[in-house]
């Protein structure tokens, strides 16, 4: 297992390098720059700024000096927020985004799995169709539509929960977490339904029934352990996706998270912040994929005890 993890971490290096390189040159290809604002900056000031941030040097030199800084763990300074480093910016927004992500992950895993299992127990019946059609709607509805609709109904209409904010009024975390979780919940429901359907048709489920076990034991003890594997495999990429994809929800609900920095940085051509956040998210995605694969391997007794060899990753489609 140790060797497997080491291998995967080594594989991550070229992946990260490609991400860094592509992002670095793409943001510089985009028209405009960090200091091109509506109000024209005097040329001498611009010149001084460019020298300060080494933007006067050839792009290829900037690239290598960025890589060098990165190796030392230095994401560089922000161009738009003078005096603040990119690392500071990331870690000031991360706790909020992570909290939101964890809530959304828990909701999607628990609710999604439950819905999927219920649907799988009676395939092609109302018990299957109702949760699965709801899931389909969940997948189709984008969060920038679902968020405002939930706000309208539960915030303004029924006045059950606050409309926006984060951590100021009790209950204001409910709507953003639900909105962010909706698409993932639906996907998890479909995954767990598929997994359970497959497992429940296995011979060993018949064995369990033939032993006279109550049906809930058959389903939860004998079925779920195998049926949940696709969900576990998806959990890692899902969490990375929740973290990096939360900017829409953060914008709708006025949440001071990492996602909003990301979007603003892109508009502002804040090169170092874009780069830093991208590298950070890429690392997260790699790490969470790896964690998922380890969890999946651990769930399978055949792979658990294995010292070496490859563990197939079923997570990244």
């Amino acid at each position: 297992m140790g060797r497997f993890i080491l291998n995967r971490l080594l594989q991550a290096i070229p992946v990260l390098l490609v991400v860094i390189t592509v992002t670095f040159f793409l943001v510089r290809l985009a028209p405009g720059g960090p200091f091109s604002a509506e109000k024209a900056v005097p040329p001498e000031v611009l010149k001084a700024l460019e020298i300060k941030y080494q933007l006067d040097q050839p792009v290829i030199m900037q690239y290598f000096s960025y890589l060098g800084d990165l190796l030392q763990g230095d994401f560089g300074p922000s161009f738009k927020y003078p005096g603040r480093s990119v690392s500071e910016l990331i870690f000031s927004g991360l706790p909020t985004t992570a909290e939101l992500g964890i809530y959304a992950l828990l909701i999607s895993m628990l609710l999604g799995t439950a819905a999927g299992v219920v649907a799988a127990l009676k395939p092609n019946s109302a018990q299957d169709y109702i949760p699965m059609s709801t899931a389909m709607i969940g997948i189709c509805l984008p969060s920038f539509l679902l968020g405002p609709v939930l706000m309208l109904i539960f915030g303004i209409g029924l006045e059950w929960v606050p409309v926006s904010g984060w951590g100021n009024i009790p209950g204001d975390k409910i709507l953003p977490a639900l909105t962010l979780a909706s698409g993932y919940t639906a996907y998890v429901a479909r995954l767990s339904r598929g997994g359970m359907l497959e497992v429940m048709s296995q011979d060993y489920i018949r064995t369990a029934r033939a032993k006279g076990l109550p049906e809930w034991v058959v389903v939860l003890k004998h079925g779920l352990r195998g049926g949940i594997i696709p969900v576990v495999a998806f959990a890692g990429p899902a969490f990375a996706g929740l973290l990096s994809g939360s900017f829409v929800v953060e914008t709708i609900f006025q949440i001071p998270g990492l996602g909003r920095f990301y979007v603003q940085a892109a508009f502002n051509r804040d090169y170092t912040v874009i780069m830093g956040t991208t590298v950070f998210f890429a690392t997260l995605i790699i790490v969470f994929n790896l964690l998922s694969d380890i969890a999946v391997a651990w769930l399978n007794p055949k792979l658990r005890g294995r010292q070496q060899g490859s563990i197939q990753s079923g997570a990244n489609e």
Partner: protein, 550 residues
């Protein structure tokens, strides 16, 4: 006294293609301390009938149309599911066919074993554990205490079936349903498991329903036999009378289909004339797998030769290396060392290009006709492909050649446009054989070509192979775990055990006078219709395999 009395049981399946009467108007009874064997081919409804008693068939599409099943004063078929669950596992226990798929791979065997005690007898986990360990030891699992927390994949097939038997017995049932409990096992293991089941049945005075497709297997174990065909019992009676005086023609057909006796005289004519020059000579062949730490010697220093126009049988249990031997000869796996001469051409050092032209002369037939045919290719595509690829036909001339092939293997011309899923197992194997002989090879490796087939179909395919070998002057390496099949077909046999060749010689010579201890063990383990010498079954040998280091 009858413990279970089934009357007029009908189970129908409502499928898209119409109603399948899987079980139709079936009546039978099982007495305490007695064994009823239900014998029939796949699809005859024997498993469905037993599973429906326990409510284990999927409904829909299945539906119990009529009937009663009186078990100890209760009608199983009209019992509410809650009460039926009390009977399942506690009073009626089941041993399933395939211990590979019927044990939950995600739970330790101990956990699976104690469940019936916990849910039926309200045992504490501690108490259940002690009883489970005692029972595991009784069914022949050594060091049961240490292996209690092992997972199914850490056991060999025979050991898993022992675990399954222990699981069935743990709640002290009164009726045991054994559904083909030995079909997935090797012949020596089969003998051990059969003996174990018989012993347990005697010791506990159980009533037992033993389902099998193989009359030879049930001969020693059953008191009564019911022969099933197409959902109905065509004949039933005491075991002795079924074997001595079968009434129904289907029973007679089943009995006749069991390969027994030696190779028929007709084809041994050429055999007696001369010994032919060898087509294939193998010297000190080794095929090893694995890395630095764990080398598996799948083929270990084997030397043999195959004479032109003869069928050489390779016999051994699963894992003995017989398939690897066949694949090594065809260079489908590259041997680690040794020489293979095909018609005096050394294959092991041959360049890929030269090998490709030789490939046409060597073909292979695989075990599972379901897996080895491409489901998206019609019969025509399957048979035409090798002809076109090797340039033996052009697009214009290929059709008559395909039709000729279909005649050869006994397929109707009308089937030419059909796809594999439209055929039965036996017909599929005919297609696979047709593909193998399409390019007019001289040499064929047949890897267990009949072991996935029902016994009557098996007989037809064996006859087909025999005819084709004669007609096309083929040389064949016939790999099988089934000694009766090999005896029926092969001129010479070699016996493999753990990668090594333990004995070789003329089939009948080995049959009459096996020299090697392992060959003797193999022969004595074959369930046979004739009453032969008393069987000396070797109990704990061979099946103590531990798979923990796969």
């Amino acid at each position: 006294m009858s413990l279970l009395q089934v009357n007029n049981l009908s189970v129908w399946f409502y499928t898209r293609n119409g109603v399948v009467k899987a079980v139709n108007d079936l009546s039978f009874s099982v007495n305490v301390g007695q064994t009823l064997a239900i014998v029939g081919e796949s699809g005859s409804g024997k498993s469905v009938c037993c599973y429906s008693l326990l409510g284990l068939i999927p409904c829909p599409p299945g539906r119990i149309e009529s009937g009663t099943a009186d078990f100890d004063g209760q009608d199983l078929l009209s019992l509410p599911i809650k009460q039926l669950r009390q009977i399942r596992g506690q009073h009626i226990a089941t041993i399933f066919q395939d211990p590979m798929t019927c044990l939950n791979p995600y739970l330790s065997i101990g956990e699976q074993l104690i469940e019936p005690l916990i849910y039926h007898k309200n045992c504490s986990r501690h108490e259940a554990r002690d009883r489970a360990i005692a029972l595991l030891e009784e069914v022949g699992i050594q060091q049961a205490r240490g292996r209690f927390n092992n997972y199914p994949h850490q056991f060999s097939g025979g050991m898993r079936q022992r675990v399954m038997i222990a699981m069935a017995l743990i709640a002290e049932p009164r009726l045991l349903i054994a559904d083909e409990p030995t079909t997935a096992l090797d012949v020596t293991i089969q003998a051990q498991i059969l003996e174990l089941i018989a012993e347990i049945q005697r010791k506990r005075n159980l009533a037992m329903i033993f389902i099998s497709h193989d009359l030879a297997v049930v001969k020693d174990i059953a008191d009564h036999i019911a022969v099933m065909k197409d959902g109905e019992i065509v004949e039933t009676g005491p075991t002795k009378s079924i074997f001595d005086a079968p009434q129904h023609h289907y029973t007679r057909e089943l009995l006749a289909a069991i390969p027994s006796g030696s190779k028929p005289e007709s084809s041994t004519v050429s055999n007696t004339v001369t010994s032919n020059p060898p087509l294939i000579e193998i010297e000190h062949l080794n095929t090893w797998f694995g890395g630095k730490n764990a080398i598996v010697k799948a083929v270990d220093d084997i030397s043999l030769s195959v004479e032109r126009g003869k069928i050489l049988g390779v016999v051994g249990e699963s894992g003995s290396g017989k398939s690897t031997l066949g694949r090594s000869i065809l260079q489908l796996v590259r041997p680690s060392s040794g020489e293979i001469r095909y018609d005096n051409i050394e294959l092991t050092t041959l360049k890929p290009r030269a090998l490709k032209t030789l490939r046409r002369r060597m073909q292979m037939i695989f075990q599972d006709p379901y897996a080895s045919l491409n489901p998206r290719m019609s019969v025509f595509d399957t048979l035409a492909e090798p002809l076109l690829y090797h340039g033996l036909a052009t697009r214009k001339t290929v059709t008559p050649q395909v039709l000729e092939l279909m005649d050869d293997v006994g397929l109707a011309h009308s089937a030419i446009k059909k796809y594999p899923h439209e055929f039965s197992g036996g017909q599929r194997q005919r297609i696979a054989i047709g593909r193998a002989i399409a390019v007019k090879p001289e040499f064929i490796v047949a890897d267990e070509p009949v072991s996935a087939l029902d016994v009557t179909i098996q007989k037809q395919i064996l006859e087909l192979i025999e005819n084709l070998v004669e007609k096309h002057q083929l040389t064949m390496l016939f790999i099988s775990h089934d000694l009766s099949v090999v005896r029926y077909l092969c001129d010479r046999i070699v016996v493999m055990h753990k990668g090594r060749l333990v004995e070789q010689g003329d089939t009948e010579t080995i049959w009459a006078n096996p020299q090697d201890a392992y060959t003797q063990q193999l022969l004595s383990a074959i369930p046979s219709l004739q009453d032969q010498q008393p069987r000396s079954r070797h109990h704990e040998t061979g099946d103590s395999g531990n798979r923990s280091s796969e």
